[in-house]
């Protein structure tokens, strides 16, 4: 698998959860992964139920088999100050720049600089090696901006390289672009089996491809258990209600007669949803990309749920055959 795993998805599809589960799954059995967030939402801290993440790589979880997950909330302003310090030994002058509003300008107003800094920091972590010339992180997983903005976010380096035609930002932008467009990177899109997220996924893939960014997998999240098939349902609707009421009574349910109608109606809604999901699966199948599927965690997401999802990822082959390019 690619060493830089970028996870995007429409709002509400659970991309932060998926990114975290992927980081856990890839860390399994002694690996070390870095999970980064770039939108300042502290979503990772909330998910792992820890305090807010500082601008510092910090271990937040241990994976099954002894692996480690580190996390980092990248802050554009700090990244810029670090960068200036590193290259220009600015020291207190950095603070003066901040006071003047120059840092604010560079990180929020100047088109793209913010994104360059964010992707730049992540790419630095991907390429970082220790004294033994080993990669510090086996994988870097990014909880990226949503599908509607992902191509622009990743591709902004191209734009900046054009806008700032010389200088370190230009060079930085080009270096980042080389990583992002290489097989070292895979951009995954998280979706639900619903029409709008699926449509957005299809659009997002087309945009990524136009920008020559490496599309990874489609990750279908929150897949509901399939509890009742349609034949059984038709039978239920077809008039076995009296029998069902009796069966309910036999099973120890009181007042069964009044429950049959709502239960059958719920089943009908379920069937309708299953049918819609089937249609969306067909749309996704047409995209001809490999995928993963993660189940709905009915009780809501907590750290235990994350481990369940990580296990699910492992079952579907995540982390196997490192370097052999399993899918993406």
């Amino acid at each position: 698998m690619s060493r830089f795993q970028v996870v995007s998805g429409k709002g509400g599809t659970g991309k932060t959860t998926v990114a975290a589960a992927l980081a856990l799954a890839l860390a399994t059995e002694g690996k070390r992964t870095l999970l980064v967030e770039v939108e300042g939402r502290q979503g990772i801290a909330q998910l792992f139920e820890t305090e807010s993440l500082p601008y510092e790589e910090r271990k937040i979880a241990v994976a099954p088999g002894g692996g480690e997950v580190y996390a980092l909330a990248i802050d554009a302003e700090r990244a810029l100050l670090d960068y200036l310090q590193m290259f220009y030994k600015l020291g207190s002058a950095g603070r003066a720049l901040k006071k003047l509003g120059a840092i604010d300008f560079a990180t929020t107003i100047a088109p793209g600089v913010r994104d360059v800094l964010l992707t730049g920091k992540a790419c630095e972590a991907v390429r970082r090696k220790d004294k033994q010339n080993q990669y510090v992180y086996d994988y870097v997983i990014m909880d990226a901006p949503p599908t509607g903005r992902i191509t622009r976010f990743l591709n902004v380096n191209d734009e900046v390289a054009g806008l700032a035609r010389i200088g370190p930002i230009h060079n930085q932008a080009q270096a980042v672009m080389r990583v992002l467009k290489s097989p070292e990177t895979a951009v995954h899109l998280v979706t639900l089996l619903e029409e709008m997220p699926v449509q957005e996924t299809a659009d997002g893939i087309a945009e990524l491809r136009d920008a020559e960014l490496p599309v990874g997998r489609i990750i279908v999240n929150m897949v509901r258990p399939h509890l009742l098939d349609e034949d059984a349902l038709r039978t239920a609707a077809g008039g076995r209600r009296k029998e069902i009421a009796k069966a309910l009574t036999r099973a120890g349910v009181t007042g069964a007669a009044g429950l049959v109608r709502p239960l059958v109606e719920q089943a009908a809604e379920h069937a309708q949803r299953v049918e819609l999901e089937r249609e969306q699966r067909a749309v996704l199948a047409d995209l001809e990309l490999p995928g993963y599927e993660l189940p709905l965690i009915g009780e809501g997401m907590d750290p235990a749920g994350l481990y369940d999802l990580a296990t699910e990822f492992r079952k579907q082959g995540v982390g196997e055959g490192v370097g052999q390019g399993v899918g993406a």
Binding site: G11, A110, A232
Partner: protein, 474 residues
């Protein structure tokens, strides 16, 4: 001020038709969206919330409903899904309000819809405030082109700009605004200020200094801070980039007061009594956490919150049967030794088997239980099934059909799943209500599918108005 309070109070107290929430441990007041839409003093409704909660659909549904209740409405969407634009009968929304056909009913008003084109909106401001030569210099500047095509914040700024323009035209009774899919739901409040203060700030003034001097004076006239700064930025961004910025800033010079003033004016418009905010959320942790931040932020900015739209809420008419009871009953049925495991159509199936289902096995959406297309042996008694005994001779475990035990167990497991969802949603929502008991809430029951047409938007509008979700979720 008093008027705003009145509007908010009216929306809360007029809400007696909602579901009875008295039994709920933490019951919020009910939001009456119709009272809000009918109130002639309300001229702007802003729908905000985190991504993926159905903001745009809510805005469109409110637009349809308000129009059909007689108001002349324009809906300003930011980035609608294609299907949603189509649901309003418009294939491609653009930067000009278009009339939506099909608004019906006695005394119906009008619905117009548009989609924000941020570059176009920015260009229009430039063209309106600069003469030909200067406008062209700005429009052709590479820095401007990047800025207007979408730096973090342009969309938010332009959305508020467009809102100000629509309001100033005074052509509509009611403007319903969707907010941009930002990093955070709060961005659209902050971005205009940020851009405004940037354009008005020290930094810009310093940047403008050399350009104003036409470059002839050189660096010796500037203070040390300035030369260090342009020097550093020049190194960092490249000299050309900085020159582009300086040229842009110089060309925009005359407009700066304008931008800042406009940002302030829009901000005041949002605080005005004729504005109402609706926070949209799904009953999920993340969405409600964002919603809570938003409620607090609006309060601190003295912006008038009408209430919370809780979208895609699940309920059950069989709520008195708990998840645990349903699962226990399902196990009783399955463990009874009467389950026919040899049939190929068991009630419980593995997801992997799904692909084996032939397409025609699926009932048409919404067809059950009234119009099941297939003729089962029991078809004849579909209508009055509850009144009659099953046909003699049909054993519960007839081969080829799921046994009634399997079937019932399946129904019970499905119900258990539903009740778990209901309970989880209730917990997240109770947490919100505990934090903000004053916020009026309307619930919108989850639709099984997406909205495709005006009819679908009407259905959402009905649910918004009645706030009705089957028992168990209220």
């Amino acid at each position: 001020m008093t008027q705003r309070t009145d509007a908010a109070t009216a929306a809360k107290t007029a809400a007696t038709s909602g579901p009875d929430t008295a039994g709920s441990p933490a019951s919020a007041p009910t939001l009456d969206t119709d009272a809000l839409l009918d109130d002639p003093d309300i001229r702007i409704v802003v729908c905000c919330g985190s991504g993926g909660v159905g903001k745009t659909t809510t805005a469109a549904a409110l637009g349809v409903r308000a129009a059909e209740r007689g108001r002349k409405v324009v809906v300003l969407t930011i980035d609608p899904a294609r299907r949603l634009a189509q649901s309003m009968g418009i294939d491609s929304l653009d930067n000009i309000p278009r009339r939506v056909p099909g608004i019906e009913g006695e005394g119906a008003g009008e619905l117009h819809a548009m989609m924000l084109d941020m570059k176009r909106t920015f260009d229009e401001i430039v063209e309106a405030h600069a003469d030909g030569e200067r406008a062209r210099a700005i429009l052709e500047n590479p820095f401007y082109q990047s800025l207007s095509a979408g730096f973090a914040g342009t969309q938010e700024y332009m959305a508020m700009e467009k809102l100000g323009q629509l309001r100033a035209r005074n052509e509509w009774d009611l403007i319903i605004v969707d907010t941009p899919p930002s990093r955070s739901a709060l961005d659209f409040l902050d971005a205009p200020k940020r851009l405004g203060s940037f354009l008005d700030g020290k930094f810009i003034k310093l940047l403008m200094a050399p350009a104003k001097m036409g470059g002839r004076a050189g660096m010796k006239f500037l203070n040390v801070g300035m030369s260090m700064m342009t020097g550093t930025l020049g190194k960092l961004l490249g000299g050309q980039f900085l020159r582009d910025v300086q040229t842009f800033v110089a060309a925009m010079d005359t407009m700066f007061g304008g931008f800042r003033t406009r940002a302030d004016a829009t901000y005041r418009l949002l605080q005005a009594p004729g504005t109402a905010f609706l926070v949209v959320a799904t009953p999920e942790q993340d969405a409600l956490r964002e919603a809570a931040y938003f409620v607090e932020r609006l309060a601190s900015e003295e912006m008038p919150l009408a209430g919370l739209v809780l979208n895609r809420v699940h309920g059950s008419d069989a709520a008195r049967l708990s998840a645990e009871q349903a699962l226990a009953a399902a196990e009783n049925l399955e463990g009874g030794g009467i389950v026919d495991q040899t049939t190929g159509k068991a009630g419980l199936r593995d997801p992997a088997d799904r692909s084996a289902d032939s397409p025609q096995a699926a009932p048409a959406p919404g067809s059950v239980p009234d119009t099941t297309p297939d003729a089962t042996p029991d078809n004849s008694e579909r209508e009055d099934a509850e009144d009659r005994e099953p046909t003699a001779g049909r054993a519960p475990d007839t081969p080829g059909t799921a046994s009634v035990e399997e079937l019932t167990a399946g129904l019970l497991r499905l119900h258990a799943e539903r009740m778990q969802v209901v309970a989880r949603e209730q917990r997240t929502r109770d947490r919100f209500t505990a934090l903000h008991p004053e916020v009026a809430v309307t619930e919108v029951a989850a639709l099984p599918g997406d909205v495709h047409d005006l009819e679908g938007l009407r259905a959402v509008g009905d649910r918004l108005a009645t706030g009705s979700v089957p028992a168990g979720a209220a």
